[in-house]
């Protein structure tokens, strides 16, 4: 297998809908694991997913999914499943028929298609509702049956457009566990979601999009570190927050230090986290401060989203 044949690759890809920009000059190389697409409505998340799956064709550039061009569905969908945002189904089918017919179109014989259908339905916890018509399903049940369709043929790449929409908290947790399990098995999972704290919980890497452009890509902590214009916030919990604050102020990379609301720590803003942490160790040792925890306070998806997208839009 070549270096790029286990990657999802966008090479200078643009998509225009007439004169309207979908995405512009996107370069991506996505490794296995969970990758989240994050951005406001109209930022290009669904366009990227539809391009990955061949439902749209790029205006410029080239896409390779595990080395396969998306305009070769006969090869691509042996390895890929897509849970779309489209909430419509072939008429007059129940949950079982929906999956079974899909697998028959794949070319699976009756017994194998039935076995795969039952397994996928069990996996998304829809066994009781499977004999009922899909048209009568709740939003959450429709979401689950679409997920079942995406995973029923054991794909190595899963594209999930807002897969947690409409699910109750319990179902969300179950689905997140399922995604983690699939990612641990070496699958590519590409998710778009508006629920940033869940993105934070599950993602190995994020792709931040705004107005059709990729504004940041990679591990969220690396992305945050690379934002040199924005001081990094670090929360330190310790037994002598006042003393620590006075020492921290003396360091040249410190932009701001303030007491935490509960008085049990300080919140430090620093221009250079690496240099600060080296100096911080010295401060702690010299002043015999007992440190309970040191955690980045704004190195999550939500904070990066705020910095890169919300403020950019406001500007």
């Amino acid at each position: 297998m070549s270096a790029t044949s286990d990657r999802l690759v966008f090479d200078n890809v643009s998509k225009f809908y007439g004169e309207v920009l979908g995405i512009n000059r996107v370069d991506l190389t996505i490794p296995p694991g969970i990758t989240s697409l994050v951005g406001p409505n109209g930022s290009g998340k669904t366009t990227i997913m539809n391009l990955m799956t061949g439902l749209l064709q790029p205006s410029h550039g080239e896409i390779r999914m595990l080395g396969i061009r998306p305009d070769r569905p006969e090869k691509l969908f042996r390895h890929m499943g897509y849970c779309t945002q489209y909430d419509s189904f072939p008429k007059a089918t129940n949950g079982t028929q929906f999956l079974y017919n899909y697998l028959r179109v794949h070319g699976h014989p009756h017994a194998r298609a039935m076995e795969m259908t039952e397994r996928a339905i069990d996996r998304v916890g829809l066994a009781d509702a499977a004999p009922r018509r899909v048209a009568g399903y709740s939003k959450g049940m429709r979401q689950r049956i679409k997920l079942a369709q995406a995973i029923c043929h054991d794909p190595t790449v899963l594209i999930l457009d807002e897969p947690l929409n409409g699910l109750d908290p319990m179902a969300r947790a179950e689905m997140i566990d399922l995604f983690r399990e699939l990612a641990r098995a070496g699958q590519h999972i590409v998710i778009s979601s508006h629920i940033l704290h869940e993105v934070d919980l599950i993602s190995d890497q994020v792709i931040l999009l705004n107005e059709g452009y990729v504004v940041a890509e990679g591990d969220i902590h690396d992305v945050r570190t690379e934002m040199s214009g924005k001081p990094l916030q670090i929360l330190v919990r310790c037994d002598k927050p006042g003393l620590l604050a006075s020492k921290v102020f003396e360091h040249e990379s410190t932009v701001e230090a303030r007491m935490h609301e509960d008085g049990g720590g300080i919140l430090v803003s620093t221009k250079d986290a690496d240099r600060f942490l080296i100096a911080f160790n010295r401060m702690v040792l010299d002043n015999e401060i007992r440190v309970e925890s040191v955690t980045p306070a704004d190195a999550d998806v939500h904070a990066v989203y705020q910095y890169l997208i919300t403020q950019e839009s406001e500007a």
């Binding site: 809908y17 539809n50 799956t53 061949g54 439902l55 749209l56 064709q57 305009d71 569905p73 006969e74 090869k75 691509l76 969908f77 042996r78 499943g81 897509y82 779309t84 489209y86 419509s88 189904f89 072939p90 008429k91 007059a92 017919n101 899909y102 028959r104 179109v105 794949h106 070319g107 699976h108 014989p109 369709q149």
Partner: protein, 269 residues
């Protein structure tokens, strides 16, 4: 072991034949088929009430002529035509309107195999319904007004059914392509309808650019279409049928070309 593409076509046929003839989408098909059936029963009922048949329709030759007229005007040139318009134009357009086309596009199926599967299922569906209709009307008319020998009647019925299948093949291919290429396929449907129905009065060369002209060679009897009909030498069967199949194949290739470029982009996305 059957090849993959054949198993995939079977999978598509399973879904699509049901959609073509056993779903709400098939309602216009049955309404169309109901018209000639109703006309046939009205003709028989009126003849029964009046108590005598018009002399030109009595006896074996008469009933054969009566059915030929009914088939030409009531089935081939009208209801079968519009049934094909409805079913074949909606093969892909209907899925776009239902927002369910992605169901197929997310399968590991070559899009040209999808075209073949969907076209084949619609062809089978419409042809079976109209062959059954033709057989019923043929049986009722010949049973009431009298028929010829059994072997002769069977030959005629076979020819009419063959015309139904060939007409569905030709019109189906045209309207599937129209549904894929045109934003508003109703206009080409009306234009083709007009063209097919003035075919009788067209010069010999222009006649050849119509489906109905090539079907003439399959008709078991000649039916005069009036004093201003322009007679043209019908093409022999050995040219007409292969030509028909080649024409339909070319149309399917055009459809396959278009479907490969097609994007799923529903109207209100």
């Amino acid at each position: 072991m059957k090849s993959l593409w054949w198993r995939q076509i079977q999978g598509i046929l399973r879904l699509e034949v049901r959609k073509s003839i056993f779903s709400a989408r098939a309602l216009p098909l049955y309404l169309m088929a109901g018209i000639p059936a109703t006309v046939t029963f009205i003709v028989v009922a009126v003849s029964t009430i009046v108590g005598e048949s018009p002399p030109e329709f009595s006896g074996p030759g008469g009933s054969t002529s009566l059915f030929a007229i009914l088939f030409q005007l009531g089935i081939l040139r009208s209801t079968l035509y519009f049934a094909c318009v409805w079913i074949f134009m909606n093969l892909f357009r209907g899925e776009v309107l239902d927002r369910s086309l992605h169901y197929y596009f997310l399968s590991p199926v070559r899009r040209d195999v999808l075209v073949a599967g969907k076209f084949g299922s619609a062809w089978i569906g419409v042809s079976v319904v109209f062959s059954a209709l033709t057989a019923v009307c043929f049986g009722v008319i010949h049973a009431y007004f009298g028929g010829g020998s059994m072997s002769n009647l069977a030959g005629h019925l076979f020819a009419y059914c063959a015309i139904v299948w060939m007409a569905c093949l030709g019109y189906g291919a045209i309207f599937m392509v129209a549904g894929l290429f045109m934003r508003n396929p109703v206009i080409p449907a009306i234009l083709v309808f007009f063209w097919e129905n003035i075919n009788t009065f067209l010069p010999g060369l222009l006649k050849k650019f119509s489906v109905i002209f090539y079907l003439q060679s399959l008709f078991p009897i000649d039916v005069s279409e009036g004093p201003i009909e322009i007679i043209a030498e019908p093409v022999p069967l050995w040219i007409g049928i292969p030509g028909f199949i080649i024409f339909s194949t070319l149309m399917l290739l055009a459809a396959a070309f278009q479907i490969r470029r097609m994007e799923v982009h529903y109207a209100d996305d």
